[in-house]
């Protein structure tokens, strides 16, 4: 199995408005050859519209779609080398599995023999060997999904578009199909755009994520970037839980790579790896619940530690979850692998220590 050379796709300043509503407000992004990029965001953020613009089903109000250096913005879907797997799969109910997969090839006037060989290959690729003669309505949801994938791959698209392809499957199958799509994509090295509203799905399948919110790109980056170095408050809160803590930069010590931030609960010293942070900045610390450590309260002050009271606790085996209150503020703390270690009860006084490598967001000064 081989595909044509993967492509480089470029979106340039894409705007889309429906009437007076601006759905996309200037989207620019580059997708590398062979990369799997996910458009992710809450519903209504414009991710499906953006995908449809790439596929040619919707035209952008302004902006360009460039594929391998060629402007394809005004081409209809059938003249673009992008192929879509639809949310509803959109399989032809009056054709067999093999006819569905071979539909595009037939339109390309491939000889029948070659179509058959190619369809067999594709069915093998998606693990549907021997089901070519089945009619579509006699397939399970997961099988239909595979047929849709095979059909889109048949024409060796330069870019494969997947519109929430897993949303019609039940939870277990979603995970299986997610891994399978990723495997096939990596094997064929086909440039792929994947749309989902599920953050965890996006994190686990993507090379990079493009997070959309209110028609604007919030951040483009690898799953690690998104989680560990979120660009803003929205991104920080988008994947996983986060505790925010406000503060002001007291001093920056370039010599020992430290930054001092004062908060309403005291001063903390963090690693200085963000060069844009300067003295006097108002900042927001992004504190992940699992990075914080809890210890018994012993009265003495130590670095990066606050004193608080356990508000509630929940024990789930692999994880003990605490809510700790400081003054008016609450912080959620996850203690993974709590087996054998000290547990804290409700109303117990505790010491909370935040790590030096906490990510810091710079706040705009109003």
């Amino acid at each position: 199995m081989e595909t044509s050379k993967p492509a480089m796709l470029e979106l340039q300043g894409i705007h889309k408005s429906f009437g007076s509503v601006d759905v996309l407000k200037g989207i620019s992004a580059q997708i590398a050859k062979g990369e799997l990029l996910t458009f992710v965001g809450p519903s209504g953020c414009g991710k499906t519209t953006l995908l449809r613009i790439v596929g040619g089903f919707t035209s952008a109000t302004s902006g360009r779609v460039i594929l391998d250096g060629e402007d394809i913005s005004n081409l209809p879907p059938n003249m673009r080398n992008t192929k879509m797997v639809f949310q509803s799969y959109a399989l032809f109910p009056h054709m067999t599995v093999a006819k569905n997969v071979g539909f595009g090839l037939k339109l390309q006037k491939w000889p029948q023999k070659k179509i058959e060989t190619r369809v067999e290959e594709l069915l093998a690729l998606v693990h549907l060997e021997g089901l070519g003669h089945r009619s579509i309505d006699r397939l399970s949801g997961g099988q239909q999904q595979r047929v849709a994938l095979a059909r889109a791959l048949a024409l060796e698209p330069k870019v494969l578009l997947l519109d929430e392809p897993l949303s019609n499957l039940d939870a277990n199958l979603r995970v299986v199909m997610r891994e399978e799509i990723r495997n096939i994509q990596e094997r064929l090295q086909v440039t792929t755009i994947f749309v989902t509203h599920d953050q965890y799905e996006a994190m686990s399948i993507s090379d990079r994520l493009l997070v959309l919110h209110q028609g604007v790109i919030q951040q483009i980056g690898s799953p690690v970037d998104i989680y560990e170095r979120p660009a803003n408050e929205f991104i920080a809160g988008f994947v996983g839980y986060v505790n925010f803590l406000e503060g002001q930069v007291d001093s920056v010590q370039n010599g020992c790579d430290s930054v001092w931030i004062s908060t309403e609960f005291g001063r903390v010293e963090l690693d200085h790896h963000q060069k844009d942070i300067a003295k006097g900045d108002n900042v927001l610390m992004v504190i992940r619940p699992e990075t914080v450590t809890l210890s018994p309260w012993n009265g003495d002050e130590s670095q990066n530690s606050f004193h608080g009271t356990v508000q509630s606790q929940m024990y789930a085996g692999n994880l003990a979850k605490y809510t700790v209150k400081f003054g008016q503020k609450e912080m959620v703390i996850d203690h993974y692998n709590p087996m054998g270690s000290r547990k804290y009860g409700k109303s117990e006084k505790v010491k909370v220590t935040i790590p030096r490598n906490v990510h810091v967001l710079k706040r705009k000064t109003d």
């Binding site: 089903f57 192929k83 009056h94 390309q108 070659k114 060796e156």
Partner: protein
């Protein structure tokens, strides 16, 4: 595989751009063409009727309407029509309810046979009951002779009886739907609280069904006042609007007065249409409840069952007897007088020629109607042009308008250039296509509702242009709707009388017209024999529709109601 790497689809020459343009705009071209067809073959004839009722030799005038209100003959024909509609409606409300109640709540063994009886008249044209009632109760009628009665069938009683029998299926199907939608658990819980059967029916079933019953009654009213055959054959000297319109054209060639009568006939139809769609729209509790859950059979008190059965039994006998005497009458010399077996009526050349003509016309109307209906459904569902709703309303209006009105409209509109069609077979075919368009359109729309737009996008994505998508994907998927539309149009054209009777050229008989004329002349043998043949063709068509309904879940006979 290397040699199979496909060529670039992205080609930029002008031919591809032109083709892309055509593909992008074809649906609008279709829409334009269909609008033109609807305008010429529906709007134009109906507008012509309106114009002719207001336009004399000296231009605009209200004289014709003045004449209508001046002469007793005219306005009584209007009042009689309303009385006939009202009487039929009330009787059918009761009879239909009795049948529907017993088939939805009665003892199991009685449900199927009763339902079959109630639906049996569907297999025959409505005017069959005039012929059978004449055979039974006419001057030499079998029952009149047998019981030495002197009953006159050419009377109000006769017309009403024929109408009740002819429209029993319509009223039954609508009321059955309504009763089916009343959740049985409501009745059960009432019963649980100690309510008597009579109490349940009075305070649960009927109140819940009332809005649906009202809608059913209104539809029966509209359909009966538009009926031509029964009042024309059995009306005797009593004037009714539909037959009088016909007489106005054939007897006096008075197109203006015929137009006035047509407008007068449409008026109550439009009134009820408005009532139906705007006042009653959304009223009714039954639709919310949804499908009834299968429950244990609740035994019904005989005190309830018995009166219902007493209503159903004579109707059942009449329906069965009607079909019986039609078959009997086709094989005896002179029914009721000389009951010796003959095959002459069945072999009658004129009758067979009329059947053959009808067959040809119906085939043409069916094919053309299915094509137009499928295209219309597609354009209405997938088009993005303004006026789609207007288009849908126009397409469906042919079904709601009285046949005589469309007949008059066609004869006025198409006996002069630019559309000179009078006397040709085409005027009949076109008339039937556009009168019966609604069912094919509805079938196509309901089929398209099942198909996600994504299917069309997917085909485009895979490299198909609009034409390819249309022929390779849309049409195959819509094929069942196409076939159902074809058979339905074929079948209704085969039976239709009220509008085609205006359009047949002398010497060119259609089966329905031939039956009508022979029945009027009292030639019951040929009339019966021709009817039997029509029934046979219709029965085969209905069986085919049943097969389609079973295979694809597309039931146009339900939609026809």
């Amino acid at each position: 595989m290397a040699e199979l790497v496909m060529g670039s689809i992205v080609r930029k020459n002008w031919w591809y751009r032109l083709r892309a343009f055509i593909n992008a705009n074809l649906i609008n071209l279709f829409a334009g063409g269909l609008f033109a067809l609807l305008a010429v073959f529906l709007l134009y004839p109906i507008a012509s009727v309106l114009v002719f009722s207001l336009w004399g030799d000296q231009g605009f005038t209200l004289d014709f309407y003045a004449e209508f209100f001046k002469y007793e003959f005219y306005y009584w024909s209007f009042l009689n029509t309303l009385i006939l509609g009202l009487a039929t409606m009330i009787i059918l409300l009761v009879v239909g309810f009795c049948f529907a109640y017993l088939t939805t709540r009665g003892p199991l063994w009685i449900r199927k046979p009763l339902k079959m009886i109630a639906l049996l008249p569907l297999a025959a044209p409505p005017y069959i009951f005039s012929i059978s009632l004449i055979t039974l109760f006419g001057k030499n009628g079998m029952i009149n002779n047998l019981l030495h009665l002197n009953f006159n069938i050419y009377s109000w009683t006769g017309v009403i009886a024929a109408q009740v029998l002819a429209f029993l299926p319509l009223s039954y199907m609508m009321i059955e739907n309504v009763l089916n939608a009343v959740n049985p658990s409501l009745e059960e819980s009432a019963s649980d609280m100690g309510a008597s059967e009579f109490r349940i029916m009075r305070s649960i079933t009927i109140p819940l069904a009332a809005p649906g019953l009202l809608k059913a009654a209104l539809l029966v009213f509209v359909m009966t006042i538009a009926e031509f055959g029964n009042p024309a054959i059995l009306g005797g000297r009593t004037p009714f609007l539909a037959p009088d319109t016909y007489l106005m054209i054939t007897g006096e060639a008075d197109f203006n007065m015929a137009s006035v009568l047509s407008v007068v006939l449409i008026a109550p139809c439009i009134l009820i249409f408005i009532l139906h769609n705007f006042v009653l729209a959304g009223k009714g509790y039954t639709t919310i409840v949804g499908k009834p859950t299968a429950t244990e059979l609740r035994p019904i008190d005989p005190a309830i069952k018995l009166p219902f059965l007493i209503v159903c039994i004579p109707v059942t006998i009449l329906v069965l007897l009607s079909f019986g005497v039609i078959v009997f009458g086709s094989f005896v010399k002179i029914v009721g007088v000389d009951n010796t077996f003959v095959i002459d009526h069945m072999l009658n050349t004129q009758s067979n020629l009329a059947i053959w003509n009808s067959f040809k016309v119906s085939l043409g109307a069916g094919l053309f109607g299915a094509v137009v209906g499928t295209l219309l459904a597609y354009v209405i569902m997938r088009g993005k042009f303004p006026g789609r709703h207007l288009m849908e309303m126009l397409a469906l209006s042919g079904f709601a308008l009285p046949g005589t009105v469309i007949g008059v409209g066609y004869i006025i509109a198409f006996n002069r250039p630019p559309f000179l069609l009078t006397g040709t077979i085409w005027i009949i075919i076109l008339n039937c296509v556009f009168r019966f368009l609604a069912v094919g359109v509805e079938a196509g729309i309901s089929k398209l509702h099942q198909i996600s737009v994504e299917i069309e996008e997917a085909s485009a994505d895979l490299g198909a242009d609009f034409l390819t998508v249309f022929f390779k994907v849309i049409l195959p998927i819509m094929f069942s709707a196409f076939v159902a539309g074809f058979i339905y149009t074929f079948m209704t054209t085969m039976m239709s009388l009220s509008s085609v009777i205006f359009l047949v050229a002398p010497g060119f008989d259609l089966a329905s017209v031939y039956i009508f004329l022979t029945a009027q002349l009292g030639e019951l043998g040929v009339a019966s024999a021709t009817t039997v043949k029509v029934i046979a063709i219709v029965a085969v068509s209905m069986a085919l529709l049943k097969v389609i309904a079973k295979k694809t879940g597309l039931d146009v006979q339900k939609q026809g109601v």
